[in-house]
Each structure stands twice: as structure tokens, then as C-alpha cells.
């Protein structure tokens, strides 16, 4: 079930009404959320429900075992069970074909024939997200940061909580799990805020991202014939598309959770206004980056073992982060390209931890130039992210440098695309201005004008735009991960 579908817009109010009017006790509300989450997931592919139940069961058990283990060796053994099972499932469903095909390619290059074949395994939606979530539970227990829960309904609900099940935010057990155990009271203001965040998320997804996708698909589909500037525009649009798509998803997820009295972590914090690559990665897909920081970067030594080791650790983390996104070389290259930008920046400029941008003036020229540089550089790395393979990515970069003047494709030539460009020239600035004005807040509609007429005008315009573009058949980009 997609968030941007009518099914979800019927499903959400139904669960909401049952949750607050029928199932009033915390325990029964948890049962309802668990059932609703499984229905939500089964609407996709009921066969993979078994996998998520199995994964939850193993971590529930191993969490308790780790906590109750008599000695460190026992603790490690049970932690290993959890890690192997989770990463094993991920490797089997997501990476098996990649390893096999890479092995076949390697053998081919050295002239050895193999009988191996790729299995074309169906990818269970959301596996990368909920696997990381459950892993954090056992690791945190192992590290003594939290105690295991005895309430299996709460734990299974935490793993499969439908607002964030398929594409995050990746929640830590210590943050989300206690919310399942505490009594949740309905708060009108929080619920209204949740609805507003859903509306804003829908706008970003169905109005901005899905319309960008049409032009992006055209440009990437004709990259060999397109003009260099159009290729640059194409990849910038792709950046906006990915942001609108994924941050829109996160907003809908966080907003939906608010309706049930849950608080999910912030996943994006106006990343377009970052003035350094370091700042960008503190604002982009925050929960994943925090996960890699806490469970990979710090255990590798972080910045405590000297400068060279720190750069090495950064490269490893970015490489893994790329690989987490997809079982393809293009994603690994995307991660490494970002690592390069990050390391070079660290070498040249000392990162000032610029996380607060509330006071920044937009027309401060120096800041603006830095924002544009960061935007363009990150956008260029996304060529790897969007390309089908490395050949396409290199061809795309080649096209951007081809000023020979022989370009048969011009996406601005068709009237349909012109209309699309016109629409986007309204929608994208609306999104960017909204986000700029609301920097420091969860979302732009959080603090609305007091004038009722103005407030409702904004609601009506956004609702009409969402109704217009709510086709329900454009999946979220991050669902493939």
C-alpha cells in the first residue's frame, strides 16, 4: 500500500477511528497497530510477512538472551545470532544476485567459466529499513544502553509500525519502543500538526517529485542525444525529485505517527540550504547516517585513531551507505563520490559543525554561493544513483562535457514538457521557499498564519494540487532499497 494512494487515505482514517474510539487501552491499541501494520505490509506481498515476523521473533529472543547471558561470551554469541540472521536475510534477498553476477563477471575477465546463475530473487520491500531497526535493538542491549522488552506485541509492533515500516525513518528501539509501552492520550494540536505534515509531505511527493520524475525520465532516457545544460538540469531535477519523494515520504510517516500519539525522528532538515558537505550529511537522511555513525563509524574508531584512519573510516562508511542503498556498483560509486567530497572538504576547510541555519540570511552572497556549490556537487554524484549501470553514468558525465553541438534531443521542444516545466517552475520554488521560511521547524505548515482565510487558502490550494496529482501508481524512490 502506497502512502500516495487512495487505499492509504481510506486505511489511515479507518485505523485512526478504531484506535481512538474502539481500542482505548494501550495494550489493545498495540494489538490493533500490529494487525494494521501487517495488513499494510501484506497489501504489498503477503508472502514476505513471514520474513518480518521471523526477523522480529529472532531479535525479540536474542535481545532477551543477550541481556540474560551469564558471561560476555554468551552475550556475544547471541548478538552474533541476531547480526548473522539479520544481515543473512539482507544478503540473501538483496545482495545474493549482486555477489553472484560480480563473481561471474570477475571470472569472465580472467577467462574462467562458471556454472553459477543469478536467481532473480524478489526483493522484500522495506527489508533494509526494518533490519537496521531490529539490529539496533540487540546491539543497544548488548552495549547496556537499554533493557529488553517483555511485551512481544510492543516489540513486533515496533519492528513493523506501518508509518515507517517500508522506508523509515529508521528508529532506535530506545526511542520508539518505550512509546509502545506508555499510555497515549489524544492531543488535538499534535494530531492537527500531523495532518498538516501529511499534507505537506503529499505536496512534496505527488506534486513536486512525481512531476520532476517525468522530465528526469526523459532526460536520462535520452542522455546520449541531450544537450549538456539539459543533462545538468536533469540531474538537478533528479536531486529535487529524490528529496521531494523521500522527505515527502518521511513527512507522511511522521505525520501519520503523530495521529496515533507517536513521535518519530526527524529524517530531513532542509538539506538544500547546507553550506558544506558535512552539514549536508547531517541534514539528509538523518536516521540512516546516525545509524552508520553509531554502529559502524564509531566502532571503527571514528576520529580517535588519527587523521588517516578517520578518512579511511569515512570512506568505509560512505561506501557501505551506498551499498546499503542498492546492490549495484553504481550505488557504491555514489557513496564513494560523496566520501571524496567529504574528505576533500575536511582537508581543505575545517568543518564548523554548521547545523544551525535559522539565523542565516538568504542573500548573504557567500552563504548562497556555498549552498549552490554543495547542491550542484551532490546533484552530480546522483548521476551514479540514477544510472542503470556504470556505463550509463559515465555516458551521462560524458554528455555533460560534449559541447560539439550535435544534439538531437531537446526536452523543452515538446509542448507537454513545456507545460511540465511551467508547472515545476511554480511548484519547486513553492517548496523551496516554504522550507526556507520554516527552517528550524519540523515542516513549513507547523506554524500557520493566524488569519483563518489565509490559512485555509493554503490548505485548499495544497489539497487541490494533491487531488490533481494523486494517481497512486508512482512508487517512492526509496521503496527499492
Amino acid at each position: 500500500m502506497l502512502f500516495n494512494s487512495l487505499e492509504y487515505l481510506l486505511f489511515l482514517p479507518l485505523v485512526f477511528v478504531l484506535y481512538w474510539f474502539v481500542f482505548k487501552k494501550t495494550q489493545s491499541q498495540n494489538v490493533l497497530l500490529l494487525i494494521a501494520s501487517y495488513v499494510f505490509y501484506a497489501a504489498w506481498d503477503y508472502r514476505f510477512l513471514a520474513l518480518i515476523i521471523l526477523s522480529s521473533g529472532i531479535d525479540y529472543l536474542s535481545g532477551t538472551k543477550v541481556y540474560n547471558a551469564k558471561d560476555q561470551r554468551d552475550k556475544k554469541r547471541w548478538l552474533l545470532v541476531s547480526v548473522v540472521m539479520n544481515l543473512g536475510a539482507l544478503a540473501a534477498f538483496k545482495y545474493f544476485d549482486f555477489f553472484i553476477s560480480s563473481w561471474i563477471d570477475l571470472m569472465d575477465t580472467i577467462g574462467v567459466r562458471t556454472n553459477l546463475e543469478v536467481l532473480n530473487i524478489v526483493f522484500p520491500v522495506g527489508i533494509s529499513f526494518y533490519t537496521f531497526q531490529t539490529l539496533s535493538y540487540t546491539i543497544d542491549i548488548y552495549r547496556g544502553k537499554m533493557e529488553p522488552t517483555k511485551d512481544w506485541v510492543a516489540f513486533f509492533g515496533f519492528v513493523s509500525f506501518f508509518p515507517q515500516l517500508v522506508a523509515g525513518p529508521i528508529e532506535r528501539a530506545k526511542d520508539l519502543l518505550p512509546q509502545f509501552n506508555q499510555t497515549r492520550a489524544f492531543d488535538y494540536n499534535t494530531a492537527v500538526d500531523g495532518l498538516r505534515q501529511i499534507l505537506w509531505g503529499m505536496f512534496k511527493k505527488v506534486v513536486v517529485a512525481d512531476n520532476c520524475a517525468i522530465l528526469v525520465n526523459e532526460v536520462f532516457g535520452h542522455y546520449e542525444e541531450a544537450q549538456p545544460l539539459q543533462l545538468l538540469a536533469g540531474v538537478c531535477l533528479f536531486f529535487i525529485q529524490v528529496y521531494g519523494d523521500f522527505s515527502g515520504y518521511s513527512d507522511i510517516a511522521i505525520g501519520s505517527a503523530k495521529l496515533f500519539g507517536f513521535k518519530l525522528s526527524l529524517n530531513f532538515s532542509t538539506p538544500f540550504f547546507s553550506r558544506s558537505f558535512g552539514e549536508f550529511w547531517r541534514r539528509w537522511h538523518i536516521t540512516l547516517n546516525d545509524w552508520f555513525r553509531d554502529y559502524v563509524y564509531f566502532p571503527l574508531g571514528g576520529n580517535r585513531k588519527g587523521r588517516f584512519r578517520m578518512y579511511f573510516n569515512i570512506v568505509v562508511v560512505f561506501g557501505l551507505c551506498g551499498f546499503w542503498h542498492g546492490a549495484q556498483w553504481t550505488f557504491i560509486f555514489w557513496g564513494l563520490a560523496n566520501a571524496l567530497l567529504f574528505v576533500v572538504e575536511r582537508l581543505l576547510v575545517r568543518d564548523k559543525e554548521e547545523t544551525e541555519i535559522t539565523g542565516v540570511k538568504l542573500f548573504h552572497l557567500g552563504q548562497l554561493v556555498r549552498m549552490i556549490i554543495v547542491f550542484l556537487a551532490v546533484a552530480l554524484t546522483l548521476v551514479f544513483f540514477r544510472a542503470k549501470d556504470l556505463d550509463e553514468a559515465l555516458g551521462y558525465f560524458g554528455g555533460m562535457l560534449n559541447f560539439s553541438g550535435q544534439h538531437s534531443f531537446d526536452f523543452s521542444a515538446s509542448t507537454r514538457h513545456q507545460a511540465m516545466i511551467l508547472k515545476l517552475s511554480l511548484f519547486i520554488p513553492a517548496m523551496v521557499i516554504g522550507e526556507w521560511l520554516s527552517r528550524g521547524q519540523d515542516h513549513p505548515l507547523q506554524r500557520m498564519p493566524k488569519n483563518r482565510g489565509f490559512r485555509y487558502s493554503i490548505y485548499i490550494v495544497l489539497t487541490l494540487l494533491c487531488i490533481e496529482y494523486l494517481y497512486g501508481d508512482v512508487p517512492f524512490v526509496y521503496f527499492q532499497f
Binding site: 477511528v17 489524544f186 497512486g472
Partner: protein, 380 residues
């Protein structure tokens, strides 16, 4: 909590209500721009008393002028309301609304409909063209039909299509822009009374030539034509399934509506409708019998797998006119009976006229059309 539910429901309800009120002010064919043009043509065409709805098989293959010439029964002035990709939910909706439309139906005596089975709503389920016509009647027919076919995906598609149409999902922009749109009919199309010849669309000549060449090269229509022929030979009288009954019910429903308004509703059945004999009490023309079949299914008369070229369309329309004559003489109804428009024809035996005059008429028509094409090219 109740305040939140009340406020948000009221907000969404009012927005949707406003959209539906606005939609109600648009003509019922607003979602089909090509039909909007044809309707504007029909509204300024005098003396039309027969309209023919259907997909491209009507748009490209029914020539009103040939039909009128070929009819023994005079007094019929036809208009082609066929539009490409007008499938079952849409044409059913349009015919029902047309019969209810007092302005448009005035003077119309016959409404012909190219009967089709309900189509799965897969590929373009979210497009305006597919959704705007899914009203309650169409939704329930689609659901019943696909339920009997055990195709539950389509049951869901029809229900979702109906909900999306009611909530105006994906329709807002087109609805708002409809009034700003220019839906005047093209002069050539008006003169041809709605008929759109492939040959006259010179700006698409290259595309059509490619399609025809591909068709001739692959002969991919061959198997299709054979299957139609086989159906026409042995399909009649096949048992009516529960799914077929849905289509029959709909045809009967439209027929009842038409009778109340004093209109003869006539279903035109292709060979796919092997249950047509069961359509008791309905006016129908069946095109599946094998008379002239090979003539108009032969490759030289076809544009592509599914469409006749102009030569084929002439043969097809003449055949339809003969069937219409049969229908009129069998039913003994209609103002056309005995009223001949072309007085010079009255002195001739109809069959003699058909054999003697056909070649001459055809040549004249071909010359006229050639001239039109040349004129168009020169203008370009």
C-alpha cells in the same frame, strides 16, 4: 478528537463538493476532447437524425455520406460520433447521457452504438479519459462483469475508478481548463460529418504509412481476421454467460431509456458478440455474418490490424447501410421509410442503381478526396 474528525471531514467534503458542483456545470463529455469537438460539430449540423457512437472502428470506418447515399430508405442524415479508444465504460456512459441530453438529442431518431465488452482498466486506470465516465451505473456493471469472470483485480479497479472520479482525483486541472479550451470542430471533419479518414490526415501520413507497411510486412492482422471469420461462422447461438448478461442488461437499460425519449437505439454487433441472438426485443445489427467478409478484411482494404482504410471503410459503410435498410424494413418504423432525399434515385431500381452507380460514385468520391488531399498539401 471528534472536533478533528468533524473539521477534517468537513474540509475534505466541502472541497470535493465544490469540485463536483463545478464538474456538474461541464458537459458530460468533458473528459474526451475529441468528442467535445465532434459534439460542437453536431450542435451546428442541421437535419442530423442518426448518430453512431463507438471507438476508432466507428471513427475510421463509418462514412456518413456513403451511408446516406447507400440507404434505400431516405431521410436519414448521419453523424459519426466515434472516437479512438472509446471503450465500453465510456461509450455506455456517453450514450446514456446523450439520450438524456435534451438539446443534443433533439431531432435524433436513431442512436447506433458499436457494442463492446467491458475492458479491463489496467494501463490507464488513473487517466482522466478512463475515469471521468465511471459513474455508479458503469462501476456496478464493471464490478458485476468482472466478478463473474473471477477477475477481482478489475473489480477493485472499477471501484477505485469510481471513487477517484467522485473525489475528482487527477481531474482538477483538466476540469478547470475545459472552459478555456478550444473545442471547435475542424472544417474537414465537419464536412465529413465526424468521419476521420486516415488518408485525409496528411500530417500523420508518414506515421500511418509506417503502420500500414508494418501491417503488410508482418501480416499480423491475418490471424486476427481469421479468428473473426471463424467466430462469424460458428459463434452464433452460443450460451449466454453471466458476464454476457451484464452487457445485455446494459443494452436493455439504454434501450428502455431511448424508447421513453422516442429514440430507436440500435446496437451494432461485431462477431465478438456471439450471444447477439439472445438480445430479444432489442434493435440490433449484426456484422458478423460472412457476406462480403473477405472483401473488407483483405489486406488492401486495411490500414492496420484493427482498422480499415478508406476503401475498406466505404465497403463497410455500404454494408452497414444495407443492414440498416433491412432493419428499417423489418421493424417498419422510422421517419426515413419511404422518404427519399435524392429524387433522381427514385426512378431507378435500387439494386440496379447499386451496381451501375457504385463505380461512378466511388470514382467521383475518390477524385474529390484526392483533390482535398492535394489542396491540403498545397496549403501546407
Amino acid at each position: 478528537m471528534k472536533t478533528l474528525i468533524l473539521k477534517s471531514s468537513l474540509f475534505i467534503g466541502l472541497v470535493v463538493l465544490a469540485l463536483n458542483i463545478y464538474k456538474a456545470t461541464l458537459p458530460y463529455y468533458w473528459g474526451n476532447s475529441e468528442l467535445s469537438r465532434k459534439m460542437s460539430g453536431l450542435s451546428i449540423s442541421e437535419d442530423v437524425n442518426l448518430v453512431y457512437f463507438g471507438p476508432s472502428a466507428v471513427n475510421r470506418e463509418f462514412i456518413p455520406s456513403v451511408f446516406e447515399e447507400e440507404l434505400d430508405s431516405g431521410g436519414i442524415s448521419a453523424f459519426n460520433l466515434g472516437v479512438g479508444a472509446m471503450y465500453y465504460p465510456e461509450q455506455d456512459y456517453l450514450v446514456r447521457n446523450f439520450i438524456e441530453d435534451q438539446d443534443m438529442r433533439s431531432g435524433i431518431q436513431y442512436v447506433l452504438l458499436f457494442a463492446q465488452m467491458p475492458r479491463p482498466l489496467n494501463k490507464h486506470v488513473h487517466s482522466v479519459r478512463v475515469k471521468y465516465c465511471i459513474d455508479w451505473h458503469n462501476m456496478s456493471s464493471g464490478v458485476r462483469y468482472f466478478y463473474h469472470k473471477n477477475n477481482f483485480e478489475q473489480v477493485v479497479n472499477y471501484i477505485m475508478g469510481y471513487i477517484e472520479n467522485t473525489l475528482c482525483v487527477g481531474e482538477v486541472f483538466e476540469m478547470l481548463m475545459w472552459r478555456a479550451g478550444n473545442f471547435e470542430i475542424d472544417q474537414d471533419n465537419l464536412e465529413a460529418k465526424g468521419y476521420s479518414s486516415f488518408e485525409l490526415e496528411t500530417h500523420k501520413e508518414e506515421k500511418f504509412n509506417k503502420r500500414h507497411k508494418k501491417f503488410v510486412r508482418k501480416q499480423d492482422g491475418d490471424e486476427y481476421m481469421k479468428s473473426i471469420h471463424r467466430k462469424s461462422q460458428g459463434g452464433k447461438g452460443t450460451k449466454v454467460g453471466s458476464d454476457d448478461q451484464v452487457v445485455i442488461d446494459d443494452q436493455q437499460y439504454i434501450d428502455r431509456m431511448a424508447r421513453q425519449k422516442g429514440i430507436d437505439f440500435i446496437g451494432v454487433y461485431s462477431p465478438d458478440f456471439d450471444f447477439y441472438l439472445k438480445l430479444k426485443g432489442l434493435n440490433s445489427i449484426y456484422l458478423g455474418d460472412s457476406e462480403d467478409y473477405q472483401a473488407y478484411l483483405s489486406i488492401e482494404n486495411r490500414m492496420d490490424r484493427r482498422h480499415l482504410n478508406e476503401e475498406g471503410a466505404v465497403i463497410h459503410t455500404q454494408r452497414l447501410a444495407r443492414k440498416m435498410d433491412e432493419f428499417l424494413s423489418e421493424s417498419g418504423s422510422g421517419p426515413a421509410k419511404g422518404r427519399k432525399i435524392r429524387k433522381e434515385k427514385d426512378n431507378k431500381e435500387p439494386s440496379q442503381e447499386r451496381t451501375n452507380g457504385k463505380k461512378g460514385k466511388k470514382e467521383k468520391r475518390n477524385k474529390k478526396q484526392k483533390k482535398q488531399r492535394q489542396k491540403k498539401r498545397r496549403q501546407k
